[in-house]
């Protein structure tokens, strides 16, 4: 609902961000993102991990510069950390050697506010956010929830125009996050803070729906806007209301439609190449989900929310597991339902040895990186290869860190499938059966 009558507070124009990859070209993290932030709204950016949403937040406040495009704050280009924009960090970012009061005073001190005034304002903010009595405590003495309250007090005390929240609640347990979210919402609704807009980044659908007026759903790899939704619900929002549930379902389906229906093998190979970002999921997690879906009561299909509850997880945390299972053709997600595939059923009903055989077969067939590693090993006379060989290949597509992560995932899966062995000390992959050299 682009409303041109209100001037935008912050505007992103055609933002792209790529990181230089060693040797070959660059990695696209964000691609052509344009959005405008209007006064009085809370905007949520929703996406799976690795969709560049945190990078986007850092671009908004001038911590990172975009490779292309520009950021305008009140009509002026942002080229460095912009005054008037503050951020709340996922891991709090408190200075452990400063007390709560000193942490909150930090921004004011940097602005050169006089000590007496500084103290007054900091105490006010501490009071407002419910930290009264903890002024002289050090962060390590506080619980996670209280620490994040310090993070909020520190960000709000400088009276920011725009508040950015980078997964601000995701390091907290569920009830703690809930109460902090409600407190923030109260401050916002009752206009107790002069902040004029909030941008939050989250992977939690319900959280975004509880707070935001507008939600941008991001696609990953590279990150780009997949959908924009206006949320007309009134505060306080009831997560049990039909309208709320309906919105949740709609966003689910937007987020999961990345899996293309009736895709041919050739098309799929093009989309999922060697550099595909394999999700960090263990075989045990996959098995757990499959076993749940295969329960007699479920008959091979289960609703996402129900599945999440049975695994004692947030629905969002299921995504990587389901992604892995779809990748291996063990199950498929249709709308709000998870449906067990034929091979998934065979896998989960097999014994331990048989499971490994099925898993290996699918790993080779469906995950190009696994097939590639196995092929390379077979071609070599000694049937061994150093890890660098594959890491360097992955770095053509991924950042060094990400390559490292994906590599450890494939090692884990490959070891389970007994496709290859990996010697941690030497950093060498081989086809030999682990344990043979010991005996």
């Amino acid at each position: 609902m682009p409303d041109d009558s209100t001037p935008s507070l912050l505007e992103l124009r055609g933002i792209s961000k790529s990181f230089a990859a060693p040797d070959k070209g660059s990695l696209n993290v964000l691609q052509d993102i344009s959005l405008a932030l209007r006064p009085g709204e809370i905007v949520a950016v929703l996406g799976k991990s690795g969709c560049g949403k945190s990078t986007l937040l850092r671009i908004m406040c001038g911590l990172t510069r975009p490779s292309q495009g520009e950021v305008l704050y009140r009509g002026e280009r942002v080229i460095g950390p912009a005054p008037g924009i503050t951020m709340v960090f996922q891991t709090f970012g408190l200075f452990p050697w400063l007390t709560v009061l000193q942490n909150v005073e930090l921004g004011l001190e940097a602005q050169g506010v006089a000590p007496a005034e500084r103290r007054r304002r900091a105490l006010e903010a501490i009071d407002m956010i419910g930290l009264d009595g903890f002024e002289s405590a050090y962060p390590k003495e506080l619980s996670g929830g209280m620490r994040q309250r310090v993070g909020f007090a520190r960000a709000l005390v400088v009276n920011p125009d725009i508040l950015l929240m980078d997964e601000a609640f995701s390091a907290l347990d569920v009830p703690t996050a809930e109460s902090l979210r409600n407190d923030l919402l109260d401050l916002w609704i009752e206009r107790l803070i002069p902040t004029r807009a909030i941008v939050m980044v989250s992977h939690n659908i319900e959280e975004a729906l509880l707070l935001a007026n507008r939600i941008f759903v991001f696609d990953s790899n590279p990150g780009r806007v997949k959908a924009e939704l206006n949320i007309p619900l009134k505060y306080p929002r009831d997560r049990e209301s039909p309208l709320f549930r309906q919105m949740v379902d709609r966003i689910y389906s937007i987020m999961t439609t990345a899996i293309v229906p009736n895709e041919t093998d050739a098309l799929r190979a093009g989309r999922i190449g060697i550099g595909y970002r394999l999700p960090s999921v263990t075989v045990a997690q996959m098995t757990g989900v499959l076993e749940e879906v295969n329960l007699p009561a479920n008959e091979g299909r289960v609703e996402l929310a129900e599945l999440a509850a049975s695994q004692q997880m947030e629905v969002d945390d299921l995504f990587p597991i389901l992604e892995a299972l779809e990748l291996l053709d063990f199950c498929r997600v249709a709308g709000r339902e998870v449906i067990l595939a034929r091979h998934g059923k065979a896998f989960v009903e097999a014994d331990i040895r048989q499971r490994k055989v099925i898993f290996a077969e699918h790993l080779i067939k469906r995950v190009p990186l696994a097939g590639h590693i196995r092929r390379v090993l077979n071609e070599r006379p000694a049937q061994t290869a150093p890890e660098q060989r594959f890491l360097r290949e992955l770095e053509d597509y991924l950042s060094e860190e990400e390559a490292q992560r994906v590599f450890s995932v494939i090692i884990d899966w490959g070891r389970y499938a007994e496709l290859f062995a990996y010697d941690y000390n030497a950093g060498i992959l081989s086809t030999e059966n682990p344990g043979e050299e010991v005996a």
Binding site: A20, R58, C61, L63, G80, P81, P83, I85, T86, M87, F89, T91, G93, F95, P96, W97, L98, L106, G107, E109, A110, Q111, G112, P115, Y138, P139, K140, E141, R147, R154, V158, N425
Partner: protein
Amino acid sequence: MPSIRAMIPSQEARESIGLPNRWDVLVMPLVLALLFLAAWAMRQMSAPYSWGSPIAISLDPAYLPYYALRTTLRMVLAMACSLLFTFVYGSAAARSARAAVILIPLLDILQSVPILGFLSITVVGFIRLFKGSLLGPEAAAIFAIFTSQAWNMAFSFYNSLRMLPKNLYQVADVFHLSAWARFWKLEVPFAMPGLVWNTMMSASGGWFFVVASEAISVSGKTVMLPGVGSYIALAIQGRNLTAIGYAIVAMLVVIVLYDQLLFRPLIAWSDKFKFELSESEAVPNSIVLQALQRARFLRKLRAWLAAALLRWRPRRPRGWAERLGHPFRRATASGDRVWSSTVLVLSGVSLFALGHYIAHAVPVAEIGRVFLLGLATAARVFILIVLASLVWVPVGVWIGLRPRWTQKAQPIVLFLSAFPANLLFPLAVVAITTYHLNTEVWLSPLMILGTQWYILFNVISGAAAIPNDLKEAAANLGLRRLMVWRRLILPAIFPAYVTGGLTASGGAWNASVVSEIVSWGPTRLTATGLGAYIAQQTAAGDDARIALGICVMSLYVVIINRLVWNKLYRFAQSRLTLE
């Protein structure tokens, strides 16, 4: 009796009107006395002096407190210089990838240079710099202590900056901290625990060098600065065992005071900077720190200092911050290549120049002989490290596995490592001459006398850190004693042992310069080795040969570190760290 109570101002009232509290009464005179002593000794340091004229040193024990004061002051000044150096050098290396290309390998080499070797060269320079003042030799001595401390402090600071979580930098940026404020609010606090620990370790090594550098003889002339080191040198000349005894006692007192008044409080204080988000059980404490923190006037002074420090703002904070940049920003690849080739060429040229200078003055055969001497010293160091390990590893493990013993033993071992072993050298000479022992063999232990404690200390802390569940699992599985050692204890203490061994080996090389030639009055015992060679050339004032000796020794140390210790260290890091 409310009326009387009302007469005494409450705590808050006293705070607000600025009345001194009882801690003030305790601490204020102490601080003032220290300041006065320091000021007075400083004036003595800059007394007029002409090169070659003797300074009267008396063996009367009544003078010892004064000498101890002078020695301590040198120590403190050297530490202040080291700290300043650390901040500048460490941040420069962390901020610019290009600077790091030079600074970090340079630090590595500087660490390996035998400090006492180039004392004779620096002393001449400093005497020229401060003509007609005692400050010349003083500065040379301070410089020697500085070189024994600064490198590893700078390393520690650099490494801390490298570990600093990136999101804290982002916090600093979001809240617009200037580069200056960021340095004091973020970088220094984060580096503080490591820095304090390394400073303490350096200081304990420093006592050795302060003693060795007070009595300097260059080209036949001897400068004796008032201090415990000169007192000992004089006692050695006069074969006065009683005086040596006095000096040892004085040194013991000084080190204990230094530890209690400076490092205990510092360690307890730096604990709050530990980057941990949960409270640890064992928090170090210090009565002195408590007194300092509770004294009102010091609190005021501290607040004022902190405010003054942060009030200073560079005129253009933004531009300044941009130019300085964040640590560990990536530089462009092509620029890097140009830069590193420039550095390579420059270091090649200077290496060639140095080689040319030495080859011009020293015949090739002698250069070869010096390398052989290096081999002799290397063999000595190697054998001694092995022997010391055989003794101290079992002892350290025994202590480390018993928490109550560990607590008592740690401070004692730290103290032993701080005690300048060169004070004991005369005793060794007396023993060797009395029992007609083989000099080549029996002088050797002297070089490890002071540094063996690093092995013991590290093994104790390694053994103390073995998790209880591992010990219980070993017992539960019924492992035999030998298996427990092979499968649990040795792997668990190995990383700590390597750290200790590396320090001990470096220290032993350094000590060889004073321990391969030892005298007692007219008696002079010499062992064959590179250390003795450097000492002889220093006495003769032959610059080219000193340079040769230093270069060869540095080369040996660098190569041994690279081939042995670094390999072991990396192995320990990747395989044996307990996570």
